[in-house]
Symmetry: D2
Subunit: 348 residues, 4 copies
């Protein structure tokens, strides 16, 4: 495959920096373009922003001259790391102009003709872009990935879909990196828990239903399961934890459920997509795992770790899951979406 040039909208922000880091050394995609606000446009990245992640700004990205967020000179494939407050219009402009916008922003996720993708969970939903292009008269398209806590939950639930998911009760303990930079004030979170993340619970509930739903022509039929989320912020740097209780219609044994998790693979694994983890769901048998600081980074941050599968006195079974929120839940999620798109010829 020839190298594909890619751009990042919102390239100077915290999520943009995650894209820059994740794309380093990518075998298919080469980052050549960064779009940001007028304030940054015309400057080299190294002069436009400060590096907030570990280590130092990658040298190749540091020299890229930041562009305005306008479609003209951008590569065909652009990742959107834009803040939700400005993403809507800019993403639309790029899609209209023929770009493939692979977005991490929440703005278009719940629109009827926009695929909300977790490639291992609902690869077939990508076909919705055909309807999107037809309905909107676009040559480009918008494809989205879900909220960071939704990715972890839906990947852990994917192997259970065969058993008939009826009810899902989730409580999250989410890392501060999910809120960007400066994000959560240290005065709010040191030695503390904040039991509220604005509109996170609503997103987790509705996005889960859409992702686990079925493509029905030009729309997604949401999974007819009830989903309830309690979202909390904790003093963790990276890695979201989700405790979940689930009711399943076919009443499988715990052993059957664990086996389904351990053997789970999907289209990204079958196609050997470069960012796909060999096993998207890794079941841990230790009594006290997974843990965000010890597990989220493993497998390049692209797997979801599950443990403590046991019976639930209220629903059928319960477990805990952990995923890397800024990799599997953001930059890596979008890049894997783009890899899936490339594997289906959308980038040709």
């Amino acid at each position: 495959m020839n190298t594909i040039e890619v751009g990042v909208l919102g390239g100077t922000g915290m999520v943009g920096q995650h894209f820059i880091r994740f794309l380093q050394g990518h075998p298919w995609f080469k980052l050549t373009w960064l779009g940001a606000s007028d304030r940054s446009a015309g400057k080299k990245l190294k002069d436009a922003t400060q590096w907030r992640l570990d280590g130092e700004m990658p040298k190749s990205a540091a020299e890229i001259v930041v562009s305005e967020c306008k479609p003209q000179n951008a590569p065909k494939l652009v990742f959107s790391a834009m803040d939700a407050s400005v993403a809507t219009e800019i993403e639309l402009a790029f899609a209209k102009a023929g770009h493939l916008v692979v977005s991490n922003s929440r703005n278009h996720r719940m629109e009827a003709d926009v695929p909300l993708m977790v490639p291992e969970v609902n690869p077939g939903h990508l076909a919705l872009v055909r309807a999107q292009q037809r309905l909107r008269g676009w040559s480009g398209m918008i494809v989205t990935n879900p909220n960071c806590s939704t990715v972890t939950l839906t990947l852990a639930l994917a192997p259970l879909k065969q058993f008939g998911i009826q009810k899902v009760m989730a409580a999250t303990m989410q890392a501060v990196s999910g809120a960007g930079y400066p994000g959560v004030a240290s005065m709010d979170i040191l030695a503390n828990v904040v039991p509220y993340i604005g509109s996170e619970e609503e997103k987790m509930e509705s996005e889960t239903q859409k992702i686990l739903g079925s493509l029905d022509g030009a729309r997604i039929e949401p999974l007819p399961a009830t989903v309830s989320a309690h979202c909390n912020r904790v003093a963790v740097v990276d890695g979201h934890m989700v405790t979940a209780s689930v009711a399943l219609s076919s009443k499988p044994t715990l052993a059957e459920v664990q086996a389904a998790m351990e053997s789970f693979q999907s289209v990204p694994q079958q196609r050997n997509l470069p960012s796909a983890p060999p096993k998207p769901v890794i079941y841990m048998r230790e009594a006290d795992r997974p843990q965000p600081r010890r597990d989220a980074n493993r497998e390049n941050g692209m797997a979801v770790f599950v443990g403590r599968l046991r019976k639930c006195p209220v629903l059928d079974l319960k477990f805990v899951a952990c995923g890397h929120n800024t990799i599997r839940g953001a930059a890596g999620a979008a890049v894997l979406n783009a890899e899936l798109m490339a594997s289906e010829g959308y980038l040709d």
Copy 2:
């Protein structure tokens, strides 16, 4: 009321120190006796152990000469702060010898004739000690308080009992102080979450059913509700958080539930027991409260703070609760039990 002399079994440990601190300046009880292991017996407290709580060891306690854990010279009323590994036999010996053992240990909690008390929730269960004395032929007695996370949950549920509690799903985020000293290793919890606390979930499930149950002659009929707990340790010093979803048979409105919480008072308030908070359940209207670091210490650590009451898509409603685990969940819980006992004449 004359001052009542009290002792603490396990007075050199972390929970013992919480009792020592909580009893400072108590209007009814005066700490005069401390029992500990043979290794400490015969030493002044200040020479037997290091103070692990904030500030310094209270001067009056520092000079108490620690005794062996034998009934002879101990006051009639003794609080047990003993480690579960040794509590069973020693508590039995004291009760047999005529002492009123008010215990924070888990060992006897689930025995059929032992009251498991949260004075605002089940004050009537105290009468079970009459059966206990009769059955065991004791002049003394054992009265227990629940696990620290159970106290928070049951106090928040108490105002809902009138609506018919059918199902409870709880997820906890628990402070490290709940594990004593040295307790949780910093390598395990800094910037991390540990999704497991040994046998905590089982305790929370069964203790909740017992506390919310009804006294039926010489036994407690557990509440016929299913309870499921997910217990997690987080990097918080003091204060346990519980997110809860509840199904209620009478389907009250959210406003009715909130009103029930806000107006909730019980026997300890009616009798003005010295450690009883004016309002045992404090409903907070801020979107992001309660929080352990900002709220657990308020009201001398004896109230439970509840917030974010809202509809639950899976059960009926959900909310978050926070309580001080070593005060309302341990030392303060036991002292309030003893105050209830005193108010009913058990100490006369």
Copy 3:
């Protein structure tokens, strides 16, 4: 003494909230006025800002209608909790208009005719306001307290002044509350150290020399000692730590220095000022103390805790000190300044 009405400039910010809390129940001062930006003026405090400190906004303050930061209706005594970016002009306007401005801002601290006070360390410097009034033609005045880390250092050094302080090397580990709200981003400080606080080292070096200096007519002769500071931010909520090495001309023994610390008292103690701690410097003999979380809050946050006094191979001796940065280092510092002023008749 009659109750004295007081106001707080910058009453809606984080430092302002510390003033509001610290003034609750003050025996001399009654908070009746709050000044803030135009955006807040005209609103009740509870509608103008969110409470950021532990617990809830004090009810009496919540109902105060916030004024513009203009002198007309403000009480004679106003505390300034203003951000440095706007404090200069407003404080000048109030002083010109006859107000006693007791400021926590850094803006006027190093001006030649402005007292920079730590009441136990340099009570005599207050007389400098006479020169200030004469030179500036004011009926009012500006009196300042130092930077939060400087207070801790200078209180620990005050008992050593008699031995001839020649050199001071200090390294700080400072709490996040010192940076206000939102202040330090959690992404920067969780499980981390930031070895830089803007202009803090310069302030600590020059303010220490001024505070330990001598009043010479209309000016302060700085202490002719060299002072070097290394300032670091750590993941602590409240309480600044300072490790210090000191060279002393009279070469006292460690025992003499410890005795000087333990017996240290000054004007605020002699006059029984309401916020003065009985012992401003508390020497702790435990090997691992003081510690910010366990000690800073003791003595109402108004004492400085010192420990680990020992020989220094490079200078003469070394020790560690800890003080509450937002109480003794900010709100409490200013209130104690005002109490000293009241005790000398400046408020009559």
Copy 4:
């Protein structure tokens, strides 16, 4: 070079696990032997201990059957990760039996004929083992690396040696991983600082003088500089910070010192030793760096990061340094020592 089999004494402990991890994929050394207490001997590593580091126990090590700590079947080269309480006799027994003991324990560090090595700082000191073998009549030898905070300090000081180091004042902020497992109790360190680490200051002062000293026949002449250390524990997982002020006899400019740091290389770099970082000292120009969470892990944890070089009002100049305490300060330090030994033919 043929692969060299190596063993780890104390292989089940926390430091042992760091050795196991660091040796994964080493181009010269292959881990084939683990020695531990009688309790573990005879079990596979995976059955003898729980993995405490991130991720999971490396599969190849998991299957190694743990041996008793006796010399017979161990490889010639053994790393010692033993606890100081038991290391002395066992290390002696191995050296006597002809083994090359490369030890991370403190027990033999300060003995006159034992090299205390930081390969970039004092590679010539290795020759001291010839005297050691002669004096003790051994065919084996003991070579040691310093305390974790000393490594960071001495690497940062090495480029300054040419300017004549006269005085060093250091204050540390040390990660909890330095204390092993369970190590520091979370109750002691969450949102706190502990200003004391047992005997750490003495080690840092004397080890620094030895490492920076000169080999004089069969002994090391310590550097005739005074060194003073203030050692503190902070809530950081990995990475020790050291703030340092230094007096230098030749009074170089700051630019000269920075240039010396930036160009510093030594024997391990010249010989391309596998674990040697290309630049052992990395100078960072950002105002607020280095930081432990963002920098310690870079360069495989083997470089020391320095920043904020500036004039010191008390000594000549000051700066801050950061190094990975369990890699560059422990396992990686010992492995680099062994690589230096191999490059000089000691393993032939």
